[in-house]
């Protein structure tokens, strides 16, 4: 049922697969972080450029952290702190929404929004 050569084959396939995956993961192609406040675009930032964006609008403060291709709400003065607790997002069409402060942080893909929508 199993031969030794089968197991070697499995190991080679897995190594090549994971290697290729890691290789292509580096250097993201044109994904942007779009921040909107109260429906208006506050700013657009590169997903793969580390920075902290401080948003001061309507007497509220939010800090969005972009790091290693992941985006999180580092700080917010909103009462429920849901946006801070939501954690990190990293893929196109994911978003963090701070409802009390009307801040929406969204990742937009370069060319394609999300290939999952047409594959199954």
């Amino acid at each position: 049922m199993f031969r030794k050569s089968d197991i070697i084959l499995a190991a080679i396939i897995l190594a090549v697969g994971i290697g290729a995956s890691v290789f292509s993961a580096g250097g993201g192609a044109g994904e942007k972080v779009v921040i909107t406040v109260d429906g208006k675009i506050f700013g657009t930032y590169e997903l793969f450029e580390d920075r902290i964006v401080t948003i001061r609008r309507n007497g509220h403060i939010n800090k969005v952290k972009i790091r290693d291709g992941e985006v999180s709400m580092a700080e917010s003065d909103c009462p429920n702190q849901d946006c801070v607790h939501q954690g990190k997002i990293s893929r196109p069409s994911q978003s963090i929404i701070c409802l009390p402060n009307k801040v929406v942080v969204e990742i937009k893909g370069g060319k394609n929004e999300d290939y999952d929508s047409i594959s199954r």
Binding site: I13, V22, S24, R120
Partner: protein
Amino acid sequence: MKIMTPYPADPLPISEKSTAYRIALSAALAALALIFSYIEVLIPFLPALPGVKLGIANLVIIIALYKLGFRYALIIDLIRIAAAGVLFTGAFATLYSLSGAVISLIVMYLLMKSRLFSVTGVSMAGGAAHNTGQLLAAALIVSTSKVFVYFSVLVISGVLCGAFIGVIAFLIMEKISFSSFSLYQ
């Protein structure tokens, strides 16, 4: 004097090596593979991970490859994909399946011919090749190499599901005698 009855007591002696027999068997296998494809559409294996499938239809294709040869396996697979595409999977999924199936079948054929691996190993490589082919088609269609971030998930699932299908194929071929028309034992 021989009395003719409408139904002969014994089935007509059709040689299992004859083309007619092989074509009839291929048709039955294509129908079976189509049903397996349908079962897979009905019961998503892991809905959270798109593209991860058990590949039950591949069971039929592997057995056809081992017992009828590459040409029959290819034709059975193409019929399955065309019929499944028209009936339930849709245009995009058909393109993905087609590229996956052709690459998978070529890989499995070469590995089978090498005689280095058991059915399990051949099926495992076939599963991984199938997912690689699908991803290549996806990368071409959406024209980005970003989809290869998902490659490791598909390769791991391809190896695991392929191994599972390979073990079942091994057991089936062991239990059911196909000896009279087998090409590669």
